[in-house]
């Protein structure tokens, strides 16, 4: 009654997926091309917008009352005397070499300054993001699974409220409660010697991280809730249950991966948002990160710094998107197939 085949079926042993590898490779290449193209477009936007800034960038080098000769020399130095297209080529060329110029104000290379600032912004964003995920995943799933209970409804209502609250106001409120009333954390500031004193850095970052975590969690919960609802209503989950898998077994075996597909791309966008949300949060807590560098640069009309910060943040955002897209394809075989066709 059982017609036994001689060979044994071993999962992953024979690999028809090898045939698909070229498709994945083709996708990675195409996606990389889009990444480069995006960076180019970003460069154009930056270039155009910066030319729109009032006045000649050379002015920043000059003291009041400079004569024509000094002005010419300064323009020569900055390159603003060249035709626009040549300025653009120079600009792209130096971006490609990661040469972001030197600050008009401090005279230091922009890249150096950015690197220092990133040691504040990146940990802030990553810790805040991790906190948001840690809050949102269990609560999002709970609010979908227990939608008919009061706490399920309460979670989704609170998250609705959460997306209507500006991040800086949450920061101010947290300062009011934890720094002013309870005196548990500092209301702002950052240790002078940075990461050489980890304890103090973490102490200084506690409230900012909590601020970002809470605000991001509010919007993440909604996405995780809806992804969970999709999984819960799916036919494959019903099949698994009908064939004897328990609720939690079915959710773990089938739900996590399927739920992850939409979530991964959302997480990419949210991580990018977190990074940029850090700009505002840094201001609330007076942290010397990328955001405060940008604000200061705008105030001082320090164009190389403005340009550098904007370019680096765009690069980071695009890289996150790139990674999220690839990760999504690792999880979902259907997307891998489609990679061979034209752009979706």
């Amino acid at each position: 009654m059982f017609l036994c085949k001689s060979q044994h079926y071993r999962p992953r042993a024979s690999r028809p997926s090898d045939e698909r590898n070229p498709a994945i490779l083709a996708y990675i290449l195409r996606r990389f091309a889009i990444l480069i193209l995006s960076l180019l477009i970003a460069a154009v936007v930056l270039f155009v917008l910066l030319r729109l800034l009032p006045g000649d960038p050379a002015n920043a080098l000059l003291s009041v009352g400079a004569d024509q000769q000094q002005i010419e020399a300064a323009r020569e130095q900055v390159g603003s005397n060249l035709p626009l297209w040549e300025q653009f080529l120079r600009f792209v060329g130096s971006l490609a070499r990661f040469d972001l110029g030197t600050s008009f104000v401090s005279g230091k290379p922009v890249v150096e300054e950015i690197a220092t600032r990133l040691t504040v912004t990146v940990p802030l964003a990553l810790l805040g993001f991790a906190l948001a995920v840690a809050i949102a995943v269990p609560l999002g799933i709970l609010s979908a699974v227990k939608a008919n209970r009061w706490y399920g409804a309460a979670i989704s209502t609170i998250s609705q409220l959460g997306i209507a609250i500006p991040v800086f106001w949450v920061g101010i409120l947290l300062v009011t409660v934890f720094a002013v009333n309870l005196r548990l954390f500092p209301s702002g500031g950052y240790p002078r010697r940075g990461w050489q004193n980890e304890g103090q850095v973490l102490y200084a970052l506690a409230l900012p991280v909590l601020t970002i975590g809470l605000v991001m969690a509010a919007s993440l919960i909604r996405y995780i809730r809806s992804a969970t609802q999709d999984v819960l209503g799916s036919d494959y989950l019903r099949t698994a249950r009908a064939l004897g898998a328990s609720y939690s077994q079915a959710l773990i075996r089938h739900g996590i991966r399927n739920g992850a597909v939409p979530i991964v791309s959302i997480l990419g966008i949210e991580l990018a948002t977190t990074l940029l949300g850090a700009v505002v949060v840094e201001r609330v807590f007076a942290l010397p990160g990328l955001g405060s560098m940008l604000l200061l640069a705008i105030e001082q009309r320090d164009y190389p710094n403005v340009q550098g910060v904007l370019f680096i943040s765009t690069l980071l955002v695009l890289l996150i998107g790139f990674a999220a897209d690839l990760l999504q394809r690792v999880i979902d075989p259907r997307l891998r197939e489609r990679a061979t066709g034209a752009a979706a």
């Binding site: 079926y9 036919d235 009908a242 064939l243 004897g244 898998a245 328990s246 089938h254 075989p333 259907r334």
Partner: protein, 270 residues
């Protein structure tokens, strides 16, 4: 003699709307029964009620005794010991019924593994994999190895439904519930799947609850049918009796319609 499945006064309702009212029927072991009804007749509701998988906002009253165990009002943990043991289900839409992200071999392996874990304390190495291949072979899928390594979207609709049947077979259930298993398929594929199901049910001696809107399809695989309309059972009887002498006007309409299309085709068929 106690029936394998005994449904008594089943009433399913949600938000004041009654979907199934006071339905009673039973299926003995090895027996094959059909539920016939058009959309909104409550036939799928009934099947889901038997598995105890209706959503929480739908309330069930009456009694469903499956393999000696009451289903209505029993908590999920106990029902889990029935699902996949006493019953297994094949659903209508083979594409969505399978997990799109899991290879077919692994998906069939899940119920196999659960059954082996239940039956014996220790399963020999490779037993699951061997049985998955056997099952693929049993539902007449070509190149079982290749299919086992493929994802659901990589095989055809008919092949996917064979996979779904293999998953149900993996449970070795006493009662197989097939909910419109061929409705989403082409006619030629439908004929193949019906033949396969018929053969498998006869070979294994499972009981079958076959749900369909299509009279001739039901007639091919079951002995006894019940006609549902708007959640109410109109009549019940053997296929031969009922289709020859329908007692109810509605059944008569359905039979007449099916016969009209049949006659248009002439007598060339089976």
């Amino acid at each position: 003699m106690s029936a394998l499945l005994s449904v008594q006064g089943l009433t399913v309702s949600t938000g004041g709307k009654t979907l199934v009212s006071d339905l009673s029927f039973s299926i003995g072991s090895g027996e094959r029964m059909g539920l016939i009804g058009e959309s909104g007749s409550g036939k799928s509701m009934t099947a889901m009620a038997v598995t105890g998988l209706l959503p929480a906002n739908i309330s069930v009253a009456g009694s469903i005794v499956l393999d000696g165990q009451e289903v209505v009002g029993t908590d999920d943990k106990h029902l889990n010991r029935l699902r996949g043991v006493a019953t297994a289900v094949v659903f209508q839409e083979p594409l969505t019924a399978l997990d799109p992200l899991m290879k077919i071999g692994k998906q069939i392996g899940e119920p196999v593994r659960r059954r082996l874990a239940r039956e014996q304390a220790h399963a020999p190495r490779g037993a699951v994999e061997r049985e998955v291949l056997d099952l693929l072979d049993k539902v007449a899928l070509p190149q079982p190895e290749r299919i086992a390594n493929a994802y659901p979207h990589e095989v055809s609709g008919g092949q996917r439904q064979r996979v779904a049947i293999a998953m149900a077979l993996a449970c070795r259930p006493k009662l197989l519930i097939a909910d419109e298993p061929t409705t989403a398929l082409d006619v030629t594929t439908q004929a193949e799947i019906l033949k396969l199901l018929d053969g498998l049910v006869r070979e294994t001696g499972m009981a079958l609850l076959f749900i369909s809107h299509d009279l001739p399809v039901v007639a091919q695989v079951v002995e006894r049918v019940m006609v549902l309309r708007d959640g109410v059972a109109l009549e019940e009887g053997t296929v031969g009796d009922m289709f020859a002498n329908p007692a109810h006007d509605y059944t008569q309409t359905l039979v007449d319609a099916a016969r009209m299309f049949d006659e248009a085709l002439g007598r060339t068929g089976s």
